[in-house]
Symmetry: C2
Subunit: 562 residues, 2 copies
């Protein structure tokens, strides 16, 4: 018997579900409602359109073979009834009816359903700041936003932009505008970029790279107001400073559009997003929901989380379609995996960060390890910094972050797979990853990082993290021995009288110069020479020798280096 399927929201989850239902059950009637003019576009691509890397806005609306995914496409090719410019107003769960109105004309419509899919997504959060309603203050959530913003950027040539929010949309947008030679300032109200998503020292790498690319960052920013000039925004005033701002882009996070669902009596979860079960059903088994509207189970913490992402929304759509069409299907949850490009850097995370693990009182260890993304002699090889978080005792991998100019994402994806399969570090320490000089070192940096955890567990490596090392140095609690070459040291080093340079090559014959009973921290660029030095000194009877994990590459205070 053919069913009537109604989908509200024609973006990732809704469009995917509708298309798959048509493939699975060609006899079903599928109707797709959306408020907007544009549907099924690649919202994640908008920063690249603004930056000019994606040339035409319509490129974000096209299939892989160049057809625009408009109403006609859904209708003709997919056989989906599509109604754009229609706002859903009310769900009558008893009658299985949705009331809607035409946004332009106000005309009412009513749609009966056997199964309803809620995929309205999320709306941008707007901090309550005076002037937020001024012309020139943008969000970047809908394609209409990108269209208006691109028109303004194009009309102005160059100018000054302030971006509010230092998470991935903000970071991608900052890169986009800077690549158009705009002067960009990023304001983040927390004490680091990517708050809640990356540990501070990994985020600090992006901040440093922003500095190299002339993007100014104010952290702990308290925005007092958006100031008006000639009837539109002209500047942003924070507690600390004032910035010129021909445009302001607010990228301060998303709030799920739960109003319709709430009014229909469907429960929200503890994150404030709509609650669904593993089959993506709401409280009402006839009503499914997915995408940026719902919360997910976090596979590492076991707790609900709200992480709106296009990749997750697509998977939701598939699970919903399967269940509606009689193929039992469950969405297992997410693990917070993300990646972001910022100029020449890639950065990403999967699982939990050290800070999240601490907040959740997980019994977790963490270590940072650096190494080359390719064979180090291969042209274009780059240093990557990895940070592993693992459960103490079991050594189950709980999270990993990666940052650098090289292929950080590959290592994130490998870690994501291991975490998904609940691997302990022991399970994967000899992982047979693809090796050739253009792709990795003989021992891939990820495997090298797993080995370091083994070295710590056996007491071989005694790591000190950057924060601890800095505190020890400043309190006079340790001597820092920089074992890089004299040339490397001269170029840049930690600027403190407690730091001495003693190159690794000279250490065997010069170790007598070092105090035997003082705490010593061995430092190098990546952490490997430091570790070798630590073992030499351990072997020579030095009592309290440690290695700066992650080396100077991951040292978070690059601005203080000499």
């Amino acid at each position: 018997m053919s069913k009537r399927i109604l989908v509200i929201g024609a973006s990732a989850c809704g469009a995917k579900a509708a298309a798959r239902i048509r493939r699975l059950c060609p006899d079903d009637d599928v109707t797709l409602l959306d408020e907007s003019r544009y549907i099924s576009y690649a919202a994640c691509g908008m920063p690249y359109y603004l930056g000019g890397r994606v040339r035409a806005m319509d490129d974000l609306r096209k299939t892989t073979y160049g057809r625009i995914r408009d109403a006609a496409y859904f209708q003709e090719v997919k056989g989906i009834q599509i109604r754009t410019g229609l706002r859903a107003l009310h769900i009558d769960r008893t009658a299985r009816l949705v009331e809607a109105e035409d946004v332009a004309t106000g005309k009412s419509f009513s749609f009966a359903y056997d199964a309803l899919i809620l995929a309205m997504g999320a709306a941008p959060k707007t901090p309550p700041i005076p002037g937020a309603e001024l012309r020139g203050v943008y969000h970047l959530t809908r394609l209409e936003d990108a269209e208006a913003l691109a028109a303004e950027l194009g009309g102005r040539g160059r100018g000054s932009a302030v971006i509010v929010g230092g998470s991935f949309i903000g970071v991608e947008t900052a890169e986009a505008l800077a690549s158009r030679k705009w002067s960009v300032t990023m304001l983040e109200r927390e004490s680091q970029l990517f708050p809640g998503l990356l540990d501070f020292e990994i985020a600090a790498m992006i901040q440093e790279h922003f500095f190299e690319n002339n993007v100014a960052v104010e952290l702990n920013a308290e925005i007092l107001s958006f100031g008006e000039t000639d009837g539109r925004v002209g500047r942003v005033i924070t507690k600390k400073a004032q910035y010129d701002a021909d445009i302001v882009i607010i990228a301060a996070g998303l709030a799920p559009r739960t109003k319709l669902a709430q009014a229909a009596g469907l429960s929200l979860g503890e994150t404030g997003a709509l609650r669904v079960n593993a089959r993506m059903q709401t409280d009402d088994p006839a009503i499914y929901a997915g995408g940026d509207l719902v919360e997910n189970v976090h596979l590492v913490t076991g707790k609900p989380c709200y992480i709106p992402l296009g990749s997750t929304a697509n998977k939701h759509g598939r699970v919903i379609a399967d269940n509606i069409c009689g193929i039992p299907s469950e969405f297992p949850g997410v693990q917070g995996t993300f990646a972001c490009k910022a100029f020449d850097y890639s950065v990403g995370s999967t699982g939990v960060t050290e800070a999240q693990a601490a907040r959740l009182h997980l019994d977790a260890g963490a270590v940072s390890v650096c190494g080359f993304d390719k064979a180090h002699y291969y042209p274009g090889s780059q240093i990557l910094g990895l940070k592993l978080i693992y459960e103490n005792g079991t050594h189950r991998l709980l999270g990993m972050q990666a940052v650098g100019k090289g292929d950080a994402v590959r290592r994130i994806d490998v870690a994501a797979t291991a975490i998904r399969l609940r691997a302990s570090i022991r399970d994967i320490v000899s992982l047979d990853l693809a090796y050739a000089p253009p792709f990795s070192a003989a021992l891939d940096v990820f495997v090298a990082a797993l080995n370091v955890v083994g070295n710590i567990a056996t007491g071989l490596m005694k790591p000190v993290d950057a924060r601890e090392a800095k505190a020890l140095l400043e309190q006079g609690g340790a001597l820092m021995v920089d074992v890089r070459s004299a040339l490397e040291f001269e170029r840049t080093h930690i600027d403190h009288p407690g730091v001495v340079n003693l190159p690794l090559d000279e250490l065997p014959r010069r170790m007598g110069e070092l105090p035997k009973n003082r705490k010593i921290i061995c430092v190098c660029l990546l952490g490997l020479r430091g570790f070798t030095a630590q073992r030499m000194l351990d072997g020579a009877g030095f009592a309290d020798v440690h290695t700066l994990e992650g080396g100077l590459f991951l040292w978070p205070w690059k601005d203080e280096l000499a």
Copy 2:
């Protein structure tokens, strides 16, 4: 109590083991013997030195911080006694002595050991071809080979090269010489490139790319002789043709250097390489062995295999060092993961191929899936072809191959991790991989491929592979409906009267033109539009409709396309 550790072979495994033993047990005496002048160099980097991407030969000998890893380095920095130019002649297992001679002077030496590590590696196989001893016929196994070859290449400017062997060393070397504008011919005695390592249609992609890059390939090549000109090689004569050859490079595989071990009564495995247990011990518990000398357990087949790789050798070295120093450690085995760059293409494999699975009588299914490596609208996005091999019933992932201009290696590594952890496709079908437009499609091509297996299992997708499709077409057993646009079809298509073009967009209104009861194969570029068309026709009551898996992107007979 300090131990005397003797290591024979100062390359990947031996050098790694020696260095780690010194770190673990600083009191042990570690002595490292090697026949060659050069030690601990990056052998895998030699093709890139020949091609000029690595500028100086010494770059292959340097640490990440620029110090040459010569005898002095091992001695001074690592505290390892090192003896180069010394050939081990005999192992006296009872007395725990190794006899050796100086290669230059013939002088004898004797070394006592408590633990012995055999890491002599492998020697290149030389096919018994007349003229193989001529000047100008090279191997590329030792740095001395690369040095001589580079000198000759540099002296000649341009010329003609014949490469014997179409596996990864041969392929990398072909790219290197072609990039120097040499005229390159590759001779492979099997019927495909990468024989035994890739399925034929994946290897065919590299062959086609070689064609695009003017590298000639003769498959099923039977070399009769290397012909002499002016006292050196001048041409290569095969049963089919004759090729100019200023130089010949033989890359026909490696044979483990087992002579010394055999003479000492240590057992070889069924592959002919030295047999070791999981702790990397030979029959004699005091004698460890690793690297290219030994065979490994294949984690998917459970059988011994001989896959000499630098990445594996490094892991062996670590396991050996740990066991010698009292940290119980096991090497779990390998899964045949490899990657290779060939011009703009990357190709790789992990686990078993479809051909291997068939040879081993595994109950396995296979499917090819194509998709973009990045968001398709992101500049530089590339199509990747993936081939998944999985156990029928359980859907355990057994293998994956990937090929294309994009990041194939990331997907190989993810699959390698899943295979290592014995994942079924169900375990990872909603895998939370890192997503951002510069890195992947919203649904990563790997996840999309897993979904396809699900679609096949539920009977939704009825795939036909390229070989079967070609046979059906040629026997008149099927109508092939190419559902790409008219423009795409005009540019290139399968050249057969049984192929018609009916664009997907027009299919809904034109499907009446197709025969309802004939076998139909829906074809597109990637396989997705073909699948959509198949479902449309299924839904309209067509009886026997199938999808060409992998689409035209993976069609292996590009030379026959119109």
